[in-house]
């Protein structure tokens, strides 16, 4: 513990105008460098094994910028990309390949990781990815702990209590773990799938695989597209179920779609779409809702009435129907093709969802607007903008997190529901709802997995987000313990 400090000082440690004239964070780190240095070594290790991926992401970004500003020639971009791809990465398909073939009926596997069979090789890669992700999480946690014990001036802040309460909240932790597993699935989708979207879904005829042909007794090659045609799941006649191999030595953890595409790859990529739409739209409407909440709570009166009217009008629109209408109206325009329609959906969802969030945090915002410290700040001559940002928003932001977390599930369901109807995300880009829709005729057959698995994933993720929201709520406000009317309305239900 840093001694001789009083808890009245600023809790972020960055400002150095406390009564005791505290030192800056840099100086504090310089005086006791060991914990910070060890922590930095951890970062180097974590980034080091994934350096190739970081480089690739960097070049992709650079290439995009370069193209936009037309300062980089395509050749330079291509050169950069190959250079980045040549750097080995721990969590790539190249380091731990799972696609291989065998020489004879029971011969050893070729081209897979350490000659293991594809299933085991894939499992190794999945285990590595999740081990890495959890190691990264542990590193972050360690960093917070070290900062708290070694570098922060204050011994205690209210936020410490929030975190400590969350540490004892099993249900919230369950939610956190589920959400984290889902986020990792989305982030590492290309590395997690047994095959890639480009190979398997978008351009299957541009890629070839080698396999042992039992009929001729030789190793043959076939395009992925043709192999897919032979390994679709179409009920009793032909089926590649979960956790099985198809005739071409490819392992399918979740089985295949009727088109023979790998369901796990499809769902992992679909998680990316669902999560990006959910997080982006909730972020926008959360920030907007927060701004509105502080504004209306501060000014009240006419401002409040106007926002009440606007939000009530938006809330009077049936969400799913507005989504259907907008998607249909904008069909075929550039906006609908921007990122396969994800941008359009995000924008509409953000526009439609903020009134619910605003309404949910209006109570706490009004409460904080009555607080004495707001009066004090006003009498000190602080500008309304600063008061709202510095003295009101921090109090409300916790509640906002609760409601955004709970509404995120609803957004995921709404997007899946749209895809189920054949709207929203344009095929062939993977989306969970489309898998449910595609598998609909096969639910009662041997190919039950096509509809069932995506539905279970959605249910799990929505439960996870709701549990996380519960956890945060109990952590920031242990008195509340549910019961408020808005909670039920905000919680992501299967309404859509």
């Amino acid at each position: 513990m840093h001694d001789g400090t009083s808890p009245t000082k600023s809790d972020d440690g960055r400002s150095a105008h406390g009564p005791a004239g505290g030192t800056s964070l840099v100086e504090r780190v310089a005086s006791t460098p060991t914990p910070a240095a060890l922590w930095a070594v951890g970062l180097l290790l974590l980034v080091g094994v994934e350096f190739g991926a970081v480089l690739q992401a960097g070049t992709a970004l650079l290439a995009g910028l370069g193209r936009a500003l037309s300062v980089l020639s395509p050749e330079t971009v291509e050169g950069l990309r190959t250079a980045a791809e040549s750097v080995p990465t721990l969590l790539s398909r190249e380091t731990v390949p799972n696609q291989g073939w065998r020489r004879g009926p029971d011969g050893p596997w070729r081209a897979t990781f350490a000659g293991l069979e594809p299933k085991v090789a894939w499992l190794v890669r999945v285990a590595l990815v999740y081990a890495y992700a959890f190691a990264f999480l542990a590193w972050l946690w360690l960093g917070y702990r070290r900062y708290r014990t070694h570098y922060r001036l204050a011994d205690w802040t209210p936020r410490d209590d929030v975190i400590d309460r969350l540490r004892g909240h099993r249900w919230g932790q369950f939610g956190f773990v589920v959400v984290f597993v889902f986020v990792v699935m989305a982030l590492f989708a290309p590395a997690l799938g047994p095959t890639t979207v480009d190979r398997n879904v978008l351009n299957p005829y541009d890629h070839e695989i080698r396999y042992y042909d039992a009929g001729t007794g030789e190793v043959d090659t076939i395009t992925v597209g043709n192999a897919n045609l032979q390994s679709g799941s179409e009920g009793a006649g032909q089926n590649v179920g979960p956790w099985t191999y198809d005739a071409y030595g490819r392992f399918h953890p979740f089985g295949t779609l009727p088109s023979g595409k790998d369901l796990f790859t499809f769902l992992a990529e679909g998680a990316r779409i669902s999560l990006s739409i959910g997080v982006a739209s909730m972020l926008v409407s959360g920030v907007f809702g927060l701004a509105m909440a502080t504004l209306t709570a501060y000014y009240k009166g006419l401002t409040d009435l106007l926002v009440v009217l606007t939000s009530d009008s938006i809330k009077s629109l049936p969400l799913l129907m507005v989504l259907i209408l907008v998607v249909v109206v904008f069909q075929g325009t550039w906006l609908a093709e921007f990122y396969d329609g994800a941008v359009l959906l995000t924008a509409v969802l953000a526009l439609v969802n903020w009134p619910y969030l605003w309404r949910a945090v209006r109570g706490p915002a009004l409460q904080v607007a009555e607080a004495t410290w707001i009066d004090a700040a006003r009498s000190f001559g602080q500008s309304p903008a600063v008061i709202m940002r510095k003295h009101m928003a921090p109090y409300v932001v916790g509640y906002m997190m609760v409601y955004t977390s709970m509404s995120l599930g609803g957004v995921i369901i709404a997007v899946a529901g749209l895809s189920f109807l054949g709207l929203g995300i344009t095929p062939p880009t993977p989306e969970w709802g489309r898998a449910v829709s595609v598998g609909q005729p096969y639910v009662a057959t041997a190919s039950w997995h096509i509809s069932l698995l995506p539905g279970i994933l959605i249910t799990l993720v929505v439960t996870g987000f709701n549990a996380l929201g519960d956890g945060i709520r109990d952590a920031i406000d242990p008195e509340s313990e549910g019961g408020s009317g808005v909670e039920g309305a905000a919680a992501g239900g299967g309404g859509a």
Partner: protein, 348 residues
Amino acid sequence: MSRWRYFAQRVVLAVPVVFLGTTVAFLIVRLGPIDPAAAILGAQQIGSPEYYQLREQLGLTQPLWEQYTDFMWRMVTFQLGRSWVISPGTRVNDLIAVYAPRTIWLGLWSVLIALCIGIPLGFYAGLNPNTFGDYFASFGGIVWRAMPNFWLAVILVTLLSQSQSLFGIDWEGLWVSTQVVTPPDLSVFAEPTTLVTTPGEAWLQVAVAVKQIAPAALVLGSASMGNEMRIGRTAVLEIINADYIEAARAKGVSGRRLVWKHVFRNALIPLVPIITAEAFLLVGGSVLVETVFAINGLGSLFFQAAVQGDLPLVISLMYIFILLLVAANILQDFLYTLIDPRVGYERR
């Protein structure tokens, strides 16, 4: 402020809300990139004489402002126009009269199912906290709520249509023969007098219609069922630990009386917004559930109209749904003031 004055104020405030909501729907349709005339004739007809004739006929050549005022006036007077694509020339009012009863029937039963299962389960869990039954009901409610409607519908349709081989009970042939995926036969309600004149036959038809709608209603009610359970549980738990329950118990009020008179009545209050919020779930979810269960109600009508570009139908249905949702909101506030006079008057 009296109860009635407050209620009147709510109704007055609802007018601009309906107005703005409808305007938004109009703007999406008219200012969006969709060309109504091209939607009817097909894109290759753009520029042809018929195309311009149709534009003239649809009133698209008038200034937007005139179109808007004209539209709003027709909405207010419920002259909803005629369908263009789905059923060309048919008045929207007639279409709604045909399709709405099925949706109302579906909505009625999903609310009933949600209420009759969700609230008792929630109260049971609240009265027996931290028992196995409580955990089972609570966790079940949470997961049930998280399931997407459309997925649940898909699974249920399959389970029921294969029930003979899966469970040994044939749902389709159970009691009376019905299909799993079918619009309910509501012809009996066209002549309600038969319910009295030939009760045997008429009530049998009602029962058949209930059986036809039950699976869809279960799915549609599922989300709110979970909500009601959860809120009901929390409410009961909160009240049981309140001082006045302690006092009543000390006075010697019997257990049964305590639960019915003191706990349940008060536990219903936080359930009011949940129950009226069901209107939202029903209106939105009806599209998906009606599509899967092939119930030709307003939801599937809206979906068909939207996909096929039948704009007058789409916008009229949107207007109807907005009216429904706003009415549900007013009902919610009204119920609040009825059940708990402390809430409401000064809330806004």
